[in-house]
Amino acid sequence: MNAKGKVHKYLDNVDTDVIIPARYLNSSEPSELAAHCMEDIDADFVNNVKPGDIMVARNNFGCGSSREHAPIAIKASGIGCVIAATFARIFYRNAINIGLPIMECPEAAENINAGDEVEVDFDTGVIRDITTGREFKAEPFPEFIKDIINKNGLLNSLK
């Protein structure tokens, strides 16, 4: 499995309030949430994002609230993978649990630029920046988590 697309780049401490502001949490419909994804820090995101695009950020991505609406909004907006130097722990769990691919890779987070074309291979953990020709390697998930992802989310893995 892989993802390939254009990079939307953000900095440190992207919190779940800017990923999906609480004023929209009166809905739990993925498409309604996606319509407001990132709007408080990047009003153009929803217009620019295309299916398969990659989101790249630096440290502590997804900090703050436990709202699963945040990874749901990102996934429903079409993003195929989020790469960050580090993730806040609740966001990390939630992304795995709902099947939004994420990769922790400080080198990729530092060196990939906004607008680059990037390809991610989830099986090998290899992240290739097609625009610059650079390649990065993320830690693969432990088996326990791979199992959840392969079964398409936590609840399916419990059946």
Partner: protein, 419 residues
């Protein structure tokens, strides 16, 4: 190698003699919590996966606190979904309008959390219950759904940072100042994936309300949980609320910590977090002139009786500055009634404040005090992210109840000594 408090609790709930940092475990849950924002998503997941009953009707809590009393039709639909689910599954601890409070004030008050227990909640501030020596942590709606169905959750065993508290805090210093000081020191990802364990001789000067405030904000340093040693203060609090037996865990002498910090409580000053991160802290003598439009005293961080009593001490016989909206939000029905009986409402109303029904409300920009473009609020809540309380160009400053009250009186941020 020894274990931390958190590791011991997790080992006991995983049926293991010992665990170490980084180990993946499945642990049994003593309580699974959700609110009116996160539970509807969990209910959809629960039903889609084909589960028909909860693992234990006494070990699920659903609290309708974020957008209640319902602010609009969509939030009313969400609450209706929660109400019907709680009815169908016969959930014992379902708290609707009339019984509800802000969840993390309500659960300890009702005796639903106790030392040594493992609690997950689909709300990031679930880490609050570490104040009474429990392991509790925030999760998402899918984890809540899985927890309700199976009574278990997966965890990666955390390493820990130890905070050794010493000294006696000065009169106006509260748990809020201590935790803001710590977050300012280690940063919003300073405890990422880790436990924050609090102990030391200074602990005896911190009330349970102080400790609930501190454990509540462990997540603002990225922490998995915050946990306090259990002492006489904890036991006195629990004696009035918890009937069941519980186990008190203490860290081993040779427990390993990623870092140990000594915090001298006597050296702390009132502390304020500037926009737009809780780590942007300044002590009160460094804040400069920051004019305000609104003051909010409430939330799962600082909406408890002691918080209101301290704010009332400042407001008594004084009045809020011109053009300041001061909103007081007692966190639960009990706190509301106790504050009213103590005469605090008269003090607040004489000072020009309003008193709201319990709700998370403005803390997350839900309702009951949303900010316009360019407006500034001082708030006793826990987050000051971009757009947290309203317009993306509004600002939130985080502080203790006494600093918030003093600032409301002056119209700009100041400490209680200035009024």
């Amino acid at each position: 190698m020894g274990m931390t408090m958190t590791q011991k609790i997790l080992a006991s709930h995983a049926g293991l003699d010992s665990v170490k940092a980084g180990q993946l475990i499945r642990a049994k849950l003593d309580m699974v919590l959700g609110n009116d924002v996160t539970t509807p998503v969990a209910i959809k997941e629960f039903k889609a996966a084909g589960f028909d009953k909860v693992f234990d009707k006494d070990k699920v809590s659903i609290v309708l606190d974020h957008f209640t009393p319902n602010k609009d039709i969509k939030s009313a639909e969400h609450c209706k979904m929660c109400r019907e689910f709680a009815g169908e599954k016969d959930v014992t601890n379902f708290y609707d309008v009339g019984k509800m409070g802000v969840e993390h004030a309500l659960l300890p008050e009702k005796g639903l959390v106790a030392p040594g227990e493992v609690i997950i909640g689909a709300d990031s501030h679930t880490c609050t219950y570490g104040a009474v020596g429990a392991f509790s942590t925030g999760v998402g709606s899918t984890d809540m759904a899985a927890g309700m169905a199976t009574g278990e959750a997966w965890f990666k065993v955390p390493s820990a940072i130890k905070f050794n508290l010493t000294g006696k805090p000065a009169k106006w210093i509260s748990g809020k100042d201590v935790i803001l000081h710590i977050i300012g020191m280690i940063g919003v990802d300073g405890a990422l994936y880790k436990s924050m364990e609090f102990g030391g001789d200074g602990l005896k000067y911190l009330s349970i309300d102080d400790r609930l405030t501190m454990a509540n904000m462990a997540i603002e340093a990225g922490g998995k949980n915050g946990i306090f040693e259990v002492d006489d203060v904890t036991r006195a609090y629990l004696d009035e609320r918890v009937d069941r037996e519980y186990t008190v865990y203490t860290a081993d002498e040779d427990a390993e910590y990623d870092a140990v910090y000594d915090i001298d409580l006597s050296a702390l000053k009132p502390t304020v977090a500037f926009p737009h991160l809780p780590e942007n802290t300044k002590t009160i003598d460094e804040v400069g002139e920051v004019k305000l439009d609104q003051c909010v005293i409430g939330s799962c961080t600082n909406g408890r009786l002691e918080d209101l009593e301290k704010a009332a001490e400042i407001f008594k016989g004084r009045h809020v500055a011109k053009n300041i909206r001061a909103i007081i939000i007692p966190a639960t029905q009990k706190i509301y009634r106790d504050a009213m009986k103590e005469g605090l409402f008269d003090i607040f109303m004489d000072a020009g404040c309003i008193i709201s029904t319990p709700t998370c409300g403005p803390c997350l920009g839900g309702h009951m005090g949303i900010l316009a473009k360019g407006e500034r609020a001082i708030s006793t809540s826990n987050r000051n992210f971009v757009g947290r309380m309203g317009h993306p160009e509004s600002e939130v400053y985080l502080a203790s109840p006494v600093v918030a009250a003093a600032s409301a009186i002056k119209g700009y941020i100041c400490g209680p000594d200035e009024i």
